[in-house]
């Protein structure tokens, strides 16, 4: 795979009606600020427009937050505005994240007419009890209904997001949820193990001992059962938490994060990457609006990566994906022995000039970079 390639564009829609207790993405409930936000995003787009690296994109990802909360006019103006400032490839992948309880036929038709060709549906679970635990706005039935509508709306590709590793979840019930999700015919499936993130209601609950999640042994079982089931249905387990029905269906946009492909992020808390530089916007709608209304950049911080940091990240990303890492990324005098050790333990395979993680390797993806390095 080539490491650079065409850049991707991300837009962060920072609005949610309610905050889910596990989520650490940035959002606020005040949708009435959507107009101001939209103006600022388009302004931010023009501020970035002169960069030669960011003129022609082959992916646009509208994420959040809850992009499906945006009204018809706003979403229309957003897409039109971005197209005015930037060029997009003819076959660009245009993705929007949807919340099941926002999904209507009309909305889906509108998205199609705007050129959105990929939808990502934040189902998380089809089980009423699990959905309640996760603090979602929809019911299991609503989720199913939304998935059906999306499947029928004619998006070439659509994906379903699920969360697993919930209290009391068994391999059996997890497999049942996966079967249900696949029954709607998605091209893509993202399954995230529930993680307690800092400064969320779940982290506070967890500190007080009020949250009992499966241990790592159970987590591993759920993971392995999931991979087995979903790949049996013809999917590629192309990243730790992501499956696609064939290589054509992988999320072109998300893969850019893992290959150091340039991307530009617009909106509060959005991250961008180019060359060796990563920068991020203020994680506050107020600050974001203030900065842009005064004509300045919304950037809050940045980092320039050293060659070693780039290499570490390549290891970090590589062992999370089926593409693995190039052999030449391994360092230290003893690399061949270490690699052989990992191979014997069934954590990696060597394919040509690349080291790729096995399924067991995925389970230790965070540790593999340490295991192969000195």
């Amino acid at each position: 795979m080539n490491r650079t390639g065409n850049p991707g564009l991300y837009v962060h829609v920072p609005f949610c009606k309610t905050k889910c207790p596990y989520c650490d993405f940035y959002s606020v409930p005040e949708t009435e600020h959507a107009g101001k936000w939209l103006k600022a995003v388009l302004q931010e787009a023009s501020l970035n427009a002169p960069t030669p690296e960011f003129t022609c994109f082959d992916s646009l990802y509208i994420g959040g937050g809850t992009p499906s909360l945006l009204g018809h006019d706003d979403i229309g103006r957003l897409v039109a505005g971005l197209k005015e400032v930037f060029r997009f490839d003819d076959g660009a992948e245009v993705t929007i994240e949807l919340n099941p309880d926002d999904v209507t036929k009309e909305k889906l038709a509108l998205y199609r007419s705007l050129g959105v060709n990929r939808a990502s549906l934040g189902v998380q679970s089809f089980d009423d009890q699990e959905v309640r635990f996760l603090g979602r706005r929809h019911s299991g039935r609503q989720a199913g209904e939304a998935a059906r509508l999306v499947a029928e709306a004619g998006f070439g590709e659509f994906g379903v997001d699920l969360i697993y590793g919930l209290p009391g979840q068994s391999v059996r019930s997890w497999r049942k949820s996966l079967r249900r999700a696949l029954s709607y015919g998605p091209a893509h499936l993202s399954c995230y193990q529930l993680t307690v993130e800092g400064d969320t209601p779940f982290s506070r609950l967890s500190h007080k001992g009020g949250l009992e999640l499966p241990d790592d042994a159970m987590g591993a079982e759920l993971f392995l059962a999931m991979s087995e089931y979903v790949t049996d249905q013809g999917f590629l387990h192309y990243e730790v938490s992501n499956f696609a029905r064939g290589e054509q269906m992988v999320s072109r946009h998300n893969v850019k994060y893992w290959k150091h492909t340039p991307y530009l992020g617009l909106g509060p808390s959005a991250h961008s990457f180019l060359g060796r530089k990563r920068w991020w916007n203020h994680r506050s709608l107020d600050a974001y609006l203030r900065r842009l209304s005064s004509g300045s950049s919304a950037m809050e911080g940045s980092e320039a990566l050293s060659e070693e940091q780039m290499r570490l990240e390549r290891l970090l990303f590589g062992f999370r994906t089926m593409w693995g890492v190039e052999l030449k990324e391994l360092s230290g005098q003893d690399w061949a022995n270490r690699l052989e050790g990992l191979r014997q333990r069934g954590l990696v395979d060597v394919r040509g000039e690349r080291v790729v993680p096995t399924l067991t390797g995925y389970l230790f993806a965070d540790r593999l970079p340490l295991m192969v390095s000195e």
Partner: protein, 598 residues
């Protein structure tokens, strides 16, 4: 000479010694306010951080009394910890009087008593000073009573002071002049000067701090260090006024420094007598002792190829700390390293911290040990301070370990818990006295090994900070000793072995196994930790395998955080040693020393 006063300040830790020294220096205008900083005599970072004095410092304070008489007041600041009690005794031997500082809220503590006895041994004039009278919880009357009953000093002679706000400083200076006698001595007699400290200076070599009792020393003289018999040509003599001020001579009664091309601090001995080579004193000053280390532990570089760099760091460190002794050591688990001897646990910690901070070494330090004595069946006597050198148990006729006499001062309500602690630590032969109503002094004879195992922290915790503690080493006593080995996944890790009393072996083994369980990170396979005596397993714990180590999501905002964590783990990995196929972190090697948090 009648305008010279040599004095020291002695106090329990935290009773305000350094602050009082600061005030005296400020009062006498030795430094201007711009240059002044707190704890001016504590020059090492570690001293400031911990609020203790490790190295002695001397300062010559110019003072003019209200009649216009000019005095030189030599303040000899002493280390404030029992580990350095010999250095303290040599500093006190250089004085005619002391300020005995007592905290107005804390009152008399174990170290106050220890210090008082030391001062009395040298027939010093004692000026009691009650410090921190500005504190709302100050109880001056109670402290006066304690000074009367526990110290046997006249409470009416105590000076009230707040070193913090400067109250009483003038009274103290006045009392130093009035109550402490000027030094005696004869400048015409053969030179006798007592070495009470030595510092290393990279330009000038060793700077010897000394008190001249008789005679005179000048640049150009050839001096002889009497215990060593070595001679040096004097390059410079002078006095300390924060910085060194050269003088034409130092003579009887004076305190100052001598620079004489002495290469390292280890070429001098604290307590030694300096005399002139051409006209030597008939005998040295009394009280000289070659101090011996009492606590031992090994130091290994974390990366074995850093051995040379560690050797160089130790050599450099040793330039300024003669009391650290070290020799080569090697372990099957950790490779080449050094066995080091220290004056005590604080000294050990200081060495560790300074090697890491000032000399940038990443080291593994093994559990401290005392020096045990083994009588073998062939009649030889073997001193063993390193578990690696434990003799074949079949050849041991009997074994001995060093004992201390611990003196503990506590409010009466803690007698029960303290007695219990001391008995658990194999304390015997206890005595109790009630110096003042409500307070108890308990003495116990205890193995030194029990004190280096977390004793002081436990004492502080069970007495809610009210207990104070002092000790002296008394003798060797018979003891049933065994070597406790630790096995990680069936492999003996020699650097984790410790010598323990047989009765404690099981307890200690269980504790070490439990601690290691917390210290050693989980790996992909199960790890068994076992404690064994000879071939017999007496304790075990298991570290379960981890099954999964991967986070669910890794998008724009997660990447930097994940990479930073990885960088941190990578650094942490550098601080681990791989034994067999198990990564053992640096901290695990000291785990044997710590007891559970209670």
């Amino acid at each position: 000479m009648k305008h010279i006063r040599n004095f020291s300040i002695i106090a329990h830790i935290d009773h305000g010694k350094s602050t009082l020294a600061d005030r005296l220096i400020q009062y006498t205008k030795l430094v201007d306010d711009r240059q002044f900083r707190d704890q001016i005599l504590d020059t090492m970072d570690i001293e400031r951080e911990r609020g203790i004095t490790i190295k002695s410092q001397t300062v010559d304070l110019p003072y003019v009394d209200d009649r216009g008489e000019e005095y030189e007041l030599n303040l000899i600041d002493t280390p404030g910890h029992v580990d350095f009690s010999y250095e303290v005794s040599r500093a006190l031997a250089s004085c005619e009087g002391v300020l005995l500082l007592v905290d107005a809220s804390q009152g008399v503590e174990a170290q106050t008593l220890g210090n008082l006895y030391a001062a009395l041994e040298h027939n010093l004039v004692i000026i009691p000073v009650i410090n921190k009278i500005d504190l709302p919880v100050a109880d001056v009357e109670r402290v006066r009573t304690e000074i009367d009953n526990e110290l046997g000093l006249d409470p009416d002679t105590a000076i009230l002071c707040s070193a913090k706000d400067g109250t009483g400083i003038e009274d103290i200076l006045h009392a130093i002049v009035e109550r402490i006698p000027p030094p005696a001595g004869d400048a015409e007699k053969p030179l006798t000067a007592l070495i009470f400290d030595a510092h290393y200076d990279s330009f000038r070599g060793t700077i010897v701090s000394c008190r001249v009792f008789d005679g005179t020393v000048r640049p150009g003289d050839t001096i002889r260090l009497m215990s060593q018999g070595t001679t040096y040509r004097v390059e410079e003599v002078g006095v300390f006024r924060i910085s060194r001020e050269p003088q034409k001579e130092l003579s009887a009664g004076e305190v100052g420094y001598i620079i004489a091309g002495i290469k390292t601090v280890s070429d001098t001995r604290i307590g030694d007598t300096i005399t002139l080579d051409l006209r030597p004193a008939p005998q040295p000053l009394p009280g000289f002792k070659d101090v011996k280390p009492v606590v031992f532990s090994s130091i290994y570089p974390i990366a074995s190829d850093d051995y040379q760099s560690l050797l160089e760091a130790l050599e450099k460190y040793k330039l300024n700390d003669a009391s650290l002794v070290y020799q080569k050591d090697s372990s099957a688990a950790l490779g080449q390293g050094f066995r080091c001897g220290y004056l005590g646990l604080l000294h050990l910690e200081i060495v560790q911290e300074r090697l890491e901070r000032e000399f940038d070494q990443s080291i593994i330090m093994t559990a401290p040990s005392v020096q045990y004595r083994f009588h073998l069946d062939d009649g030889t006597v073997l001193d063993v301070d390193n578990p690696l050198h434990y003799p074949d148990p079949g050849t041991i006729e009997s074994s001995e370990e060093p004992y201390i006499r611990a003196s503990i001062l506590i409010p009466e309500r803690y007698v029960g818990v303290v007695m219990k602690l001391c008995m658990e630590r194999r304390g015997v032969n206890s005595h109790m006295s009630y110096p003042t109503p409500g307070r108890v002094e308990i003495t116990f004879d205890m193995p030194l090994a029990e004190v280096i195992f977390d004793f002081y922290d436990r004492l502080k915790s069970i007495t809610q900070g009210y207990g104070s503690f002092d000790y002296e080493i008394i003798d060797y006593r018979e003891s049933n000793l065994v070597k406790l080995d630790i096995l990680v996944n069936g492999e003996k890790v020699d650097a984790l072995s410790i010598l323990v009393h047989r009765d404690n072996a099981r307890d200690r083994a269980v504790r070490v196994c439990d601690r290691l369980k917390d210290e050693i990170p989980r790996q992909q396979f199960k790890i068994a930790i076992q404690g064994a005596i000879g071939g017999k397993i007496i304790a075990r714990s298991t570290i379960s395998a981890y099954r999964k180590d991967v986070t669910a999501k890794c998008y724009g905002g997660d990447i930097t955080r994940k990479r930073k964590l990885l960088e941190k783990q990578k650094k942490g990995k550098k601080r681990m040693r791989i034994v067999g196929n198990v990564e053992i972190p640096q901290s695990a090697f000291l785990a044997a020393l710590k007891s559970d948090d209670e």
